[in-house]
C-alpha cells in the first residue's frame, strides 16, 4: 500500500511520518503542497510542523494550498486521511474536521509523553485498539487547545466524533480534554500528539521501559489493514 505524506513549507515531521509508514510495512510517497496530484496513493498523512510560521492561524495558509483541493476530494470519497498536530490544525481549517485549535491555556509550549484514552475504534486509524484502551504518545505543541462553540461541542460529543482524550492533567486546556477527532465516516482523523514518534524501540515515549513505547505504530497499521481488506 502507498501512503502519501505531504510536505508544506515549514513542515517538520514529514520524514518521521514517512519512516513510520515504512515501519508499519508500507510504502511512503512524498507529496508536495504546490502540486495538484496525489500520485495515486491509497491514504494520506498531513504531518506536524509549523507551516508558514503559524502565521494568520496555525495551519490556515497550508489548508489553502493547491494540493488541499485533492485532499478534500479524496477525504470526501473515503480515503483514509490522518492529520498530526499541524496537520490536525489544517484539517480543521479545511473544514474536514470540526472546531479549531488555539494557544494552550497555560500559554506555554508543552512537550511530554502523554497518556491518551482511545474513545472510538470505528475509524480507519484506530481499528487495532480496544475501546477505552490507554496508549502513550509524545505530545509537543504550543497551540493544541481544542475549542468549539458549546453547540458544536454538544454535536461532536453526541455524534461520538471524539477519538482520543487526554488522561490525567489536560496539557492544552482543550474542551472535554479532546486530543483527537474523526469525521462521521471515520476515514479522516486528526490528533495533536505525534504517533510517528512512537514507532521504534529506543526512540519512543517512556512506558514500562525507557523510550520503548510503540503505540503509534498501531495507528499507521490500522489504515493500511483497512485498505488491504
Amino acid at each position: 500500500m502507498r501512503v502519501g505524506v505531504i510536505t508544506f513549507p515549514g513542515t517538520l515531521d514529514d520524514r518521521d511520518a514517512q519512516r513510520a509508514v515504512r515501519l508499519a510495512g508500507h510504502e511512503p510517497v512524498a507529496l508536495w503542497h504546490g502540486e495538484h496530484d496525489l500520485h495515486g496513493v491509497d491514504a494520506l498523512v498531513l504531518p506536524g510542523g509549523f507551516s508558514y510560521g503559524d502565521y494568520l492561524r496555525c495551519g490556515a495558509i497550508a489548508a489553502r494550498s493547491p494540493i488541499m483541493t485533492e485532499v478534500v476530494d479524496a477525504a470526501e470519497r473515503g480515503m483514509p486521511v490522518l492529520g498530526i498536530c499541524n496537520g490536525f490544525q489544517m484539517l480543521t481549517e479545511a473544514r474536514l474536521l470540526p472546531g479549531g485549535l488555539v494557544r494552550n491555556q497555560t500559554g506555554v509550549f508543552v512537550r511530554r509523553d502523554q497518556v491518551l484514552r482511545v474513545e472510538r475504534t470505528s475509524t480507519d486509524w484506530t481499528n487495532r485498539f480496544a475501546d477505552g484502551q490507554e496508549i502513550v504518545i509524545p505530545l509537543k505543541n504550543g497551540e493544541g487547545r481544542f475549542v468549539a462553540t458549546p453547540d458544536e461541542v454538544a454535536r461532536i460529543e453526541g455524534e461520538g466524533l471524539v477519538v482520543f482524550r487526554y488522561v490525567g492533567d489536560d496539557p492544552n486546556g482543550s474542551v472535554d480534554a479532546i486530543a483527537g477527532l474523526a469525521d462521521a465516516k471515520g476515514n479522516v482523523v486528526g490528533l495533536m500528539p505525534h504517533p510517528e514518534h512512537a514507532v521504534e524501540l529506543g526512540f519512543g515515549p517512556t512506558t514500562t521501559r525507557m523510550k520503548a513505547g510503540l503505540d503509534g505504530l498501531d495507528i499507521f497499521k490500522s489504515a493500511l489493514e483497512r485498505i488491504a481488506a
Binding site: R57, R64, P98, G100
Partner: protein, 90 residues
C-alpha cells in the same frame, strides 16, 4: 488609494487566554477599573483602485473565508479609511 480595515475577534463564547493574561497583568499593574480584555486582530488591506460595492463584497468574502476562521472567530467590522483625508488631518 484606500485602506480597507478588517477587524476579527475570537467568538464571545470561546475563552481568549491571551485576553485573560492581559487582564491579569493590568490588574497587577493597578488598573482595577479594567474588568476584562479580549484580544483580536486587525488586517489592513491596501487597494489601488476605487472602493466599489463589488470590491467590498469581495473583501467580505475574503474576510470570512481566509482572514477569520468563522468556526472560532467573528469578523466584527469592515471599514474603509480614506488615506488622503487622513493625511490632511495629520
Amino acid at each position: 488609494m484606500a485602506l480597507i480595515v478588517v477587524d476579527v475577534m475570537p467568538k464571545a463564547e470561546i475563552l481568549d487566554p491571551q485576553g485573560k493574561a492581559v487582564t491579569r497583568a493590568l490588574s497587577r499593574l493597578g488598573h482595577g477599573a479594567v474588568g476584562d480584555v479580549r484580544v483580536g486582530k486587525r488586517f489592513e488591506l491596501q487597494v489601488d483602485g476605487p472602493v466599489t460595492d463589488a470590491l467590498l463584497a469581495e473583501v467580505r468574502q475574503v474576510a470570512d473565508d481566509v482572514l477569520a476562521n468563522t468556526v472560532i472567530e467573528d469578523v466584527v467590522d469592515i471599514h474603509v479609511v480614506d488615506e488622503a483625508a487622513q493625511g490632511a488631518s495629520l
